[in-house]
Amino acid sequence: MLTRRISSLLLLAISLCLVSGQSYAYALLESSWPRPETHFYVSIIHDRHGSSSPSGVTWNAGFETAMALWQEDTVFRFTVFRNSYASPCNNGFTSDGKNGVAFLDEVCSFGFGSTTLATTINTTGINDPGTTTESDIIFNEARDWDIYTGPQRGNTYDFIRIAVHELGHTIGLDHENTLPAIMRPVAGNTEVPQQDDINGVAVLYGRDDDGVSDDLDNCPDISNPGQENNDGDAEGDACDEDDDNDGMPDDYEIANGLKPLKAADAGRDPDGDKFTNLEEYQGGSDPNDPSSVPSRHFLPFIVPLLLDD
């Protein structure tokens, strides 16, 4: 019996390890924005091509498309200041608080070198090292750029794909190399944020846009900025079916005039039938009717050992 239980536990643990391992493939930078939002001043001109790519799509439209791709499946939001230029190198690309994007032939006094296509520069205040205060993206004007879908075209790079990748750095994602992801540092046919990228953003900013990251959020799918948690268990009140952890669901307590935030009422017997409210709930009887008592065949809840956390 014991051997079977251990074997079952081992199998279950392997399954969970595999699943949870995949869940954490994304990588995060050391800083992120205080809220899932930032802005970009978008007025992109290429020295040789002007405002439009060889395919005819404007660079501005391409960059906005890249931002929209992140917004489709994550809570992160970009505000666009259209046709308004903010130099990524303004004041040494710090302090002005304006996120800029541009094609340039150098990175603010530093050369690109022969292998760099684009780079994202994040600025943080030293007094708040985990918080990004500015992010600038610079594309190497010397490379060949266009806007297209489908497979990589030799040494001509798809502006949108690279922009999506660099915007991932702006958001706070680092590279990862194990799962399909736009943050995977391999040029290829990945054009949009993948589930792993989306998971990474959710950890940074949460899925419910309440300002609490998923790894700390006691209700990651329901907005509860205050994180109220009456019973102090793992689930916040907004998603906990039993806010006082007394064994009776909140809905049941409210329907029967009990107090969903007071655990003490579980042991009381308001109808005087010698059965507590908890026993009446478990036995399916009415806690306010002395003639209604739990079934004689009622079996106490057996909480499986494995589920007892």
């Binding site: 643990a13 050369g111 994202t120 750095h169 990862e176 540092p185 268990d233 039993d242």
Partner: protein, 208 residues
């Protein structure tokens, strides 16, 4: 009251931890982003200086118009390609902490104090965002194994087990962190990596 993956009971965690460790051996990856993949031969041909050295100093300075540059000084042990006056060279990397500001360049991995390695410098004279050719591709580390043999690894510690000839022309792909043509071990076992003498011998042979 439900059980989530993040709140595994202790018994599961106890079982999970060693399994996760085992499964995550290959999960670490070299970082490099919008940097073009290059071949070893291109890197060797186009680097202005290739040397074996050790980091002996790191300072940060303001550069240009309020930019920040981290300067890393190496004591040069052996010059594999190029010429160098003296025994030391200082390379500047964009970014760092200066005053009340920190500037971070995505996927920048700077050499750390006392790190030893083989470094492909794109241009000893120019101030580049990243002075090493192809960023992480031109940044190889030397780690000493249990027999006191210095062995060559990538910047994240994957053993370099060999070199093979590849087309010099670029593939159009982005860098995965290691130059094309470098053979990497399938495990983190350091003993499988080339020792530094053999690695340098092969580099020198490729220049001829």
């Amino acid at each position: 009251m439900s059980i989530g993956l993040k709140r595994l009971p202790p018994v599961w965690k106890a079982l999970c931890l060693p399994l996760m460790l085992a499964l995550s051996v290959y999960s670490a990856s070299i970082r490099a982003t919008s940097v073009v993949e290059v071949s070893v031969d291109e890197m060797l041909r186009d680097s202005g200086l290739v040397f074996e050295g050790e980091v002996v100093g790191i300072t940060v300075r303001e550069f240009g118009n309020h930019g920040i540059q981290t300067q890393v000084t190496f004591e040069v042990v052996d010059v594999i390609k190029g010429k160098l006056k003296g025994k030391k060279i200082t390379l500047g990397f964009m970014g760092g902490v200066y005053g009340d500001r920190e500037i971070t360049v995505s996927e920048m991995r700077m050499p750390v104090m006392h790190e030893r390695g083989i470094y492909f410098v794109e241009s000893p004279e120019r101030n580049l965002v990243h002075p090493l050719y192809g960023w992480s591709q031109g940044h190889l580390k030397l780690l000493r194994d249990s027999n006191d043999v210095d062995r060559v690894t990538t910047v994240i510690g994957d053993p370099v087990t060999g070199m093979e000839s590849t087309a010099m022309q670029r593939s159009g792909k982005l860098s995965k962190g290691a130059a094309r043509g470098l053979k990497l071990g399938h495990s983190r076992e350091l003993s499988t990596a080339l020792d530094k003498h053999e690695f340098k011998r092969q580099l020198r042979a490729r220049q001829q």
